[in-house]
Amino acid sequence: MTATIAPELSVAEPEHPLKLRQRKTRRTVGDWLILAAAIVFGALIAAPFVIILINSFKSPADYATSGPLTLPSNLYFDGIAAFWERVNFPEKLWNSFFISGMVAILAVLISVFNAFAIGIGRVKGRTWIIILFLLANMLPQEALLYPLYYMFKQVGLYDNVWSVIIIFTVIQSAFGTYLLSSVYGTFPKEILEAASLDGASRWQILWRVIVPISRPTLAVLVIFFFIWTWNEFLIPLTFLVSNANQTVPVSIAVLQGDRLMDVTTTSASALLGLIPTLIFFLIFQRTLTRGITAGAVK
């Protein structure tokens, strides 16, 4: 039982064995009861999403008279519009998008370099190097927070999206190095030898052979890094103080409890916060549920 993740990322659909066995047994009353219980439980988990959705389209007056559980008597967009304009939502979307996108690309690049040296090059002391990188992933961010804050202030990058991009590039690539090193450790040797005999240099082999072949794994990493960075809170909150630089989660969180936020505007703010991640989930659902087991022991 190694800690390798490589197969998990490329191997067939997990649903497979389920489908094969589906018509084997007869359904009893008990089975239906268990299914009902599972569905009720699912409904309970989904309920907060539905409640937020319907109340974001109500006027505060409508909410006061009919309560949170009825559908809006007429569609009211002022709450969403008010919040949208108040925080200049497109700007926050762009900030989050830019930060997460840059981190995803840069962190994968660094991970590829590191993993090339560790997995393919098998440099001395690689186990320790991997443990060192994992450390970066385990540490509570508070333990780095104040020194980073001070350092970035000194070099004039405080309240600049690049401070957050640099920090998360390192934190995410730490995980990427760990994962990719074990993927590259099992890279087919014959391919490397063939390329080497053809006279390709290391740099060429990396870019023309290894990167194209491992592209599916790299794509998974890009998606993960993007979404993880999008969801980060503490470091963006500390480093991006001016409105114009904030990310989506930070801009929404700092306005909670503000006296200008009435009840349905607050609901609308939560709705706007969850829509982007919901879209990512729908697009990448398969990659995410398959890859989420990436770190699990095989």
Binding site: T2, E8, E15, P17, L18, K19, R21, D31, I34, A38, I45, N55, G67, P68, I110, A117, I120, R122, V123, T127, I129, L132, L135, N137, M138, P140, E142, A143, L145, P147, L148, S173, F175, S182, G185, K189, L192, I227, N231, E232, F233, L234, L237, T238, V248, I252, A253, Q256, V263, S269, A270, T277, L278, F280, T289, R290, T293, G295, A296, V297
Partner: protein
């Protein structure tokens, strides 16, 4: 959305010890050492962003610093103060509540739900129903945790909040409460948020792990007269034990680091009823300007996490070895 980094364990990597050389022997200059060039960007960044701040933070825990004049060395004073600081111990007590909400409840419930979905729903009603339900359970996991907290926080609003209105409507008006605003329910409310957020993660991991279980094993046990619970306990749990370890470890680390929901919902209050170490150190850093003391709290938290990780991995290795000898 945490992913489990598991440290590679010694004996399991035969390729390393047998084949201790580069897979690209003949290309490039400098042999194996030439590969170090590729580690330079990663190392430089790692040193600047992780190593230096970490060491600096440990140093700061022995100083008094308000962020302006140079830090003043005061030896162990911060640590002595920390050991007598009731607020700090409360924050660690609340961390244990977070472990209950993010580790114990989701792992147990997740085991049950995963087994239910895989074993009964998946087999009798089709894999599609099972994966749809799995996706539903997973839904809260995709949210930024601060946004997830806002969603639940909105439902728990004191005046005309959804939960209070519902309670009123079904005739339980007496149970109406300022859920996040009273010391007796604030922590419970936060725990509730965390269970909601965290549950999907073990379900997804465990369901993937269950693919490994050989159905014939179940059939054999069934023939031997084992009931569902016995099969669950002796086959399912023992086969997916590695995943249970991973989930427990990563969720425990995540529970010790909780910050977003506390910041958005309660700021540690009312009083100190929902304070956690990460929020406590944050507020010392940026509200009280007690940087040295904040660094002490953060260092203590780091030590706890590192020690826990080592203990966990050792326990897992021991359990695996015991399994191997059986």
């Amino acid at each position: 959305m945490t992913i489990a980094p598991v440290v590679a364990r010694g004996k399991k990597r035969p390729t390393e010890s047998i084949d201790d050389q580069s897979m690209l022997p003949n290309s490039g200059k400098g042999g194996r050492a030439g590969f170090w060039l590729y580690l330079i960007p990663g190392f430089v960044l790692f040193t600047v962003v992780i190593l230096i701040p970490l060491v600096w933070n440990i140093f700061l825990s022995f100083t008094e610093w308000r962020g302006i004049k140079p830090p003043e060395f005061i030896g162990l004073d911060n640590w002595i103060e920390l050991s007598q600081d009731a607020k700090f111990w409360t924050s660690f007590g609340n961390s244990i509540a977070m472990i209950v909400a993010m580790v114990i409840v989701p792992t147990l419930l997740g085991l049950l739900l995963a087994a239910m979905l895989f074993d009964l729903v998946g087999k009798k009603f089709g894999g599609r129903v099972a994966s749809f339900l799995r996706a539903t359970y997973y839904l809260p996991q995709i949210l930024p945790v601060a946004v997830a907290a806002i969603v639940i926080g909105w439902i728990l609003r004191p005046e005309n909040g959804a939960l209070n209105t519902v309670l009123e409507a079904v005739g339980l008006g007496d149970l109406q409460h300022n859920w996040l605003g009273s010391p007796d329910t604030a922590l419970l409310s936060i725990m509730f948020v965390m269970v909601w957020v965290q549950l999907g993660y073990p379900v997804v991991i465990f369901m993937a792990a269950l693919q490994r279980v050989d159905p014939e094993l179940y059939e054999a046990a069934e023939l031997d007269g084992a009931n569902w619970l016995q099969r669950f306990r002796w086959i399912t749990v023992s086969i997916i034990r590695p995943e249970i370890f991973v989930v427990t470890l990563t969720c425990t680390i995540a529970a010790l680091k909780v910050f977003g929901p506390i910041y958005t919902l309660t700021r540690g209050g009312p009083g100190t009823s929902t304070i956690v170490p990460s929020y406590y150190s944050y507020s010392e850093f940026f509200q009280n300007q007690q940087v040295g003391y904040g660094a002490t709290i953060a260092t203590a938290l780091t030590v706890v996490i590192v020690v826990l990780t080592i203990v966990f991995i050792k326990a897992q290795n021991r359990a695996e070895r015991a399994e191997g000898n059986r």
